[in-house]
Symmetry: C2
């Protein structure tokens, strides 16, 4: 885009990010696309680190996604290289070679085998990734590795993001206190499955890879898979969770023992996903949509996403117009069981429509006031069953057009 974007009015501050034992990071300037800012991240994990990953369901994924899927089965990781500015997608054989060159060089630098190096790239599609620019800065990154590199890492992976995103929690596990910290980037091309973006989570807990994978998949399903900016699904979506084991808990895959860890992991994922929505391209309002009374939870989610993805609903919110007629339209087009005459819709806690029509004596004043705020709450009661889901999105504004009408220029 032309010029620097203003910081989202919905931005949250970067939290304090204490080290995660067993993880060292460094950010550097490879000059792949951006000038005068960091654009590459190297992370090193201590021996014995386990890994879990969830990737885009887009059928035209980038070379790094294909590569990570291939090596994930081993369940262990020694390093991670991420670059911003070029997604290395749809580059054919050249894309594959760029992945291999980066992995081999990083493996050499860290003194491990190449299949222990995870990779992610984000940025423009269809332009060859100059891997040599990444390779050229690896030694310097290696020299700069630090347990205090998390905040710098969160900044190095940004593309159209207007603020860095990170979240951290503590959990009790096997008598020890463990830490989970995540960083994420993403502000457009965001939709299930799964929300587009890169997110990397680090914990000092000792957890076997299969248990880690199950918890990550479940957590992502309830968070990143419930947000949408523009219904577009990136070719590069990647969430990786690395567990170094340095906290000293005995490794366990017992679901009961992992309950508090699962809670903390879910909270970190949720917080990161909400930050991605808050940085939605052009976003001026943060929107939470809860659908209740659908025939199933899955049906409720599809209805919620139909509302969240409707350009007419999103532009109405941008215009501060509580246009519940468009919400009715979006519910109807979701293709899920719906009965017009049982529907009820509330905005900001005020029920506007019920039983197939406007609520008798409906007073628009509190709704008008709510629509002027930054945080919009929409509730839908389907009146059919027990299915329930909450999804999150942002409004659709001139800013989105500005950013995406000239991204490459």
């Amino acid at each position: 885009m032309a010029g620097k974007l203003p910081v989202s009015p919905l931005a949250l501050p970067l939290p304090a990010l204490p080290p995660v034992a067993g993880v060292r990071l460094a950010a550097g300037e490879a000059g792949i696309r951006y000038q005068g800012r960091t654009d590459v991240l190297l992370a090193e994990f201590c021996p014995g680190t386990t890994v879990a990953g969830v990737f885009t369901k887009n059928l035209c994924p980038g070379a790094p996604v294909t590569y990570c899927r291939d090596i994930l089965g081993q369940g262990t990781a020694s390093g991670l290289v991420v670059n911003a500015g070029n997604a290395n997608v749809f580059n054919g054989i050249a894309g594959l070679r760029a992945v291999e060159a980066t992995a081999n060089a990083a493996a050499h630098t860290l003194g491990v085998s190449a299949d222990q190096i995870f990779l992610a790239s984000t940025g423009v599609i269809g332009e060859p990734l100059p891997a040599h620019k990444i390779v050229a800065v690896l030694d310097q990154l290696h020299a700069n590795l630090s347990e205090d590199g998390l905040a710098a890492a969160a900044r190095a992976i940004m593309t159209t993001d207007t603020f860095p995103k990170a979240a951290t929690r503590l959990a009790e596990l096997g008598g020890k206190t463990v830490r989970i910290t995540g960083i994420a980037k993403g502000s457009g091309m965001i939709a299930p499955d799964m929300a587009t973006m890169l997110a990397f989570l680090f914990t000092d807990a000792a957890i076997p890879a299969p248990a880690l994978q199950a918890m990550l998949a479940q957590g992502v399903d309830q968070t990143f898979n419930c947000i949408t900016i523009d219904s577009d699904t990136s070719t590069s979506d990647t969430v990786l969770l690395f567990a170094t084991g340095r906290a000293g808990n005995g490794p366990t895959d017992d679901p009961a023992a992992l309950a508090d860890f699962r809670r903390a992991l879910g909270e970190v994922l949720h917080e990161l996903a909400m930050m991605v929505v808050r940085d939605g391209e052009g976003a001026q309002k943060f929107v939470q949509i809860t659908v209740d009374g659908a025939v199933t939870d899955a049906s409720a989610r599809r209805i919620g996403l139909a509302i969240a993805n409707s350009p007419l609903v999103k532009t109405a919110i941008a215009g501060e117009d509580a246009n519940w007629g468009r919400i009715v339209m979006a519910i109807g087009k979701a293709g899920e069981p719906a009965d017009r005459d049982r529907l009820a819709i509330a905005v900001g806690g005020t029920w506007m429509a019920q039983a197939g029509g406007v609520v008798p004596g409906y007073d628009e004043a509190p709704v008008v006031a709510h629509m002027k705020g930054r945080e919009i709450k929409i509730e839908v009661q389907m009146g059919l069953g027990q299915g329930r889901a909450t999804v999150w999105t942002c409004d659709l504004t001139h800013g989105y057009i500005d950013i995406n009408g000239s991204y490459r220029s």
Copy 2:
């Protein structure tokens, strides 16, 4: 919206519209929402007129849609009342009563039974329709009925449309020359199934209702169901086709005898559908997307619509950026069989990407020139089978946000 919208730069002129024997029309000012323009249409059909209809698949349809579906089975029609400015959707019992009041009054005016009166309403959702305002002008409309009322009818049904839409064709049927004329409105909330809008077609041919219905359904599937403005599906979509039989051909349902009529009907539907795209809210560019080599025709259409509905593709087109990476992304998210390494993409006839990467020696100059034009052509070759489809859409611009961020104000 605030103020009058500028006419779409993609607008086409209204063609000459000779009378259709057996059809008389009148437009008037009911003042339902708009002031100083016509907003209500009355049409009268001669005895023996048959009718076919296709309606929105939105599960929260408006009261007029439910009503028309109920009476369509009889296969005959005597009149049609359409209003613009209020869609009579989600008004519960009041919506039903407004429909009944209008139908009863129009039936009284025309001297027919109420179940011979077809109705359609378009405009805002969720506000009670003041049927009495329509009823109040029926006598005047009746007095003004004229075979020359087609152009005025096309104007009376407009909402956010910036130009009136009509098309006409002649066909040979049973040794006679018959005419088919259609009028349409629609410029937003347009997506299959079926494209949102109202369209009314009139012919002097004699065709039994079942044959008429089959031809209309097939024609709509290849035209209105292949266009999209914003992926939103209206609650009011209605296409009605009235056949008066005044041409004097012997009624037939023989497919061979109806071949030329079917061709002409298809052309009228196609022309109307293209006009709706050309009046897409905020549209600056008309976009044709052809997908070939998919596993089936249906798969090709879903891929085409995924591209056509992608906000990132549409904003790139608005920015005159031939960003084929976003087209790859949209193909990948369609959920249809796709092989990244067999894909090829052309814009304006220039193949930019093939075999999983950019075309060697690709020269961007002709593509850049093509993107600056009003008519954009995108071709996708999937390389998997014989499935083929063409869909049409427009770009996504600031104009769309302007129009939809303040529609009710």
